[in-house]
């Protein structure tokens, strides 16, 4: 089902750099795991109503408004950044 190129592509999608050697090892691991999780196809779900259980949990909504943090909290958070300038995180050029 899977090949090394696909593993590397999954790496790109998830922003992980996979070396040649790693991709070989990971391919073996992931193939084995995918073979195991594929057993779910043994269960037919099309004819079952998968939402007929009693739902206890409610969806919680709030207004789409921001909360202002204290200066101290903002400073605590920014102090963790590898590169910051004033109240901004510094990032590499995107465009």
């Amino acid at each position: 089902m899977l090949n090394q190129d696909q593993i590397k592509h999954l790496g790109l999608l998830s922003r992980l750099q996979i070396t040649e050697e790693e991709s070989q090892r990971l391919l073996k691991d992931i193939e084995k795991i995918v073979a195991y999780i594929s057993r779910l196809k043994e269960i037919k779900t099309q004819d079952k109503n998968c939402f007929s259980f009693k739902q206890d949990y409610l969806n919680v909504y709030r207004d789409d408004t921001g909360k202002s943090l204290s200066l101290e909290t903002r400073q605590d958070i920014l102090s963790q950044a590898p590169q910051a300038k004033g109240e901004y995180f510094k990032v590499k050029k995107i465009i």
Binding site: I30, S38, I43, C50, F53, V91, K92
Partner: protein
């Protein structure tokens, strides 16, 4: 500044277990002071922690200062709360403000938490004393603590074996009497399995019973903060203190736990409780000696008049597959935030080409092998062409599992199973074969998938190695589960 420690009489910490109530009563009756007890613990930790690798960081000065304040309160004749002065350990994926919180990963090796987790705030309000942060599998991914970037935690009963995972450090801390209770997290068994491996009680509450604010997220629909302790009452006391709705965690429900181990009509309880024993948890793959202990305990309960029914949970063989689709999918999403921009590990070796290159190099160096494996797996099951077959399918079956449990709980009150199919395994035994490691969770993942509460109760040893019994209850039924646990405790021969 005087070194406070040198002026405190060193008290030999008794190597028998100390429960929260015992500790509290000893403080109140002045049998020993909090400062003596806590400094005794640190002395023991300092002797053996390098070897066992239980704690990643320790707060000796702060803890002793807090202990001193509790002693001063007692000396003034003031009353103290049940948890006041109680020393506890915290898994290092739970944030304590201004302390290093590493999640067991290079990615957060030097991360200083900017806020307290809600459960920590609550324990602070009770006056409990955090001793330090315990070791874990990186980002809570693992069943042995071998995936920690800082080395595995050794099992206190046999140092050649694992303490279990991912909350191995927290389980070992309580087992070693280096904390009267501790906090962990449980996504697929990460509290219950190490509790079983270390011979202590370990609870995963009902999903939503308490706040996950300040718990570093692994899989958001499965994660719950859990509790390790030396007896059922202690689990109840801590659960009462930390449970409850939190505005900062929309998944927390308004269901504060209110039973802290009060006496109850045991006779009546035994008459009415029904236990279910699911056939699927006693089949091939289960160590026969563990099976024997489980059956023995159930036999003893039957002798007390408890009704035991053989039940069936036919979806059990699929639970691990459902888990290893949903969990990696959520992991791949939750770990996307570790990009070296706002906090955490950054790639500093050479100039990186562009932002994507920066992300890729930072993440590849910051994450360990298991984290990468799960992120890739999660990305795979969510990707175009596979999402229906895997992710959607897994969610449908998860719903069917919830229905299956609900049906079972119409017939019985508590379901009993072994916690782990094996005894604590040797360090290095399963680390090369990820799938064999995943199979360690085969009995515990269902509770997380179904959102139900589950407790591991220590029920004996095989040789030197502890064995745990798992109790599972319906949503919000921790009290029933804990009452049954108290009955099982009373069966212990000692």
């Amino acid at each position: 500044m005087w070194d406070f420690v040198n002026f405190v009489k060193f008290y030999e910490v008794p190597h028998r277990k100390m429960t929260i109530k015992e500790y509290h009563n000893n403080l109140v009756s002045k049998k020993f002071s909090a400062a003596e007890f806590v400094s005794g613990i640190f002395r023991d930790i300092e002797k053996e922690n390098d070897y066992l690798n239980v704690f990643l960081s320790l707060y000796k000065e702060e803890a002793l200062l807090k202990a001193k304040k509790v002693d001063e309160k007692l000396n003034r004749g003031e009353a103290i709360g049940i948890l006041e002065g109680a020393p506890y350990a915290v898994k290092d994926n739970i944030l304590i403000k201004n302390t290093k919180t590493t999640a067991g990963s290079k990615m957060l090796e030097n991360y200083i938490a900017p806020y307290d987790a809600t459960v920590i705030e609550k324990l602070n309000a009770e006056g409990a004393i955090a001793l330090g942060k315990t070791n874990l599998d990186e980002f809570a991914m693992g069943s042995s603590t071998e995936n920690s970037a800082f080395g595995p935690t050794k099992n206190p009963y046999d140092a050649t074996r694992v303490a279990g995972g991912s909350s191995g450090g927290s389980a070992a801390a309580v087992a070693k009497n280096w904390a009267v209770f501790s906090l962990g997290s449980d996504t697929g068994g990460s509290v219950r399995q190490p509790a079983s491996f270390c011979g202590v009680f370990g609870l995963k509450p009902t999903y939503g019973r308490l706040s996950r604010w300040g718990l570093i997220a692994m899989a958001s629909s499965l994660d719950q903060i859990g509790i390790f302790a030396n007896c059922t009452d202690d689990i109840a006391i801590v659960l009462k203190a930390i449970s409850g709705k939190d505005e900062l965690d929309a998944t927390s429900q308004d269901k504060t736990f209110n039973w802290e181990g009060r006496d109850f009509d045991i006779k009546n309880f035994l008459k009415n409780i029904k236990i279910g024993l699911p056939a699927e948890y006693l089949q091939e793959g289960l160590n026969p000696e563990i099976k024997k202990i489980v059956k023995e305990k159930i036999g003893k309960l039957e002798q007390l008049g408890v009704k035991v029914l053989n039940i069936s949970l036919p979806l059990t063989p699929y639970a691990l597959a459902v888990y290893y689709i949903i969990m990696p999918a959520e992991v791949s999403s939750n770990l996307a935030r570790y990009d070296g921009i706002k906090y955490g590990y950054t790639f500093s070796k050479e100039q990186t080409k562009d932002l994507i290159d920066y992300y890729m190099k930072t993440r590849s160096e910051g994450f360990g092998t298991e984290a990468k494996r799960r992120i890739l797996l999660g990305t795979f099951v969510l990707s175009h062409g596979y999402a229906d077959k895997f992710y959607l399918k897994a969610n449908e079956i998860r719903n069917l599992m919830i229905q299956e449990f609900q049906e079972a709980f119409k017939q019985v009150d508590i379901i009993i199973t072994p916690t782990s199919p094996t005894l604590p395994f040797k360090i290095g035994e399963k680390i090369k074969d990820p799938l064999s490691m995943y199979l360690a969770d085969i009995y515990t993942v269902s509770a997380n998938l179904a959102y139900i509460p589950a407790l591991s109760v220590p029920v004996g040893k095989i040789g030197a190695l502890p064995v745990g019994l798992q109790l599972m209850g319906a949503w919000w039924e921790e009290e029933k589960m804990l009452k049954l646990s108290k009955v099982i405790e009373s069966l212990r021969q000692e």
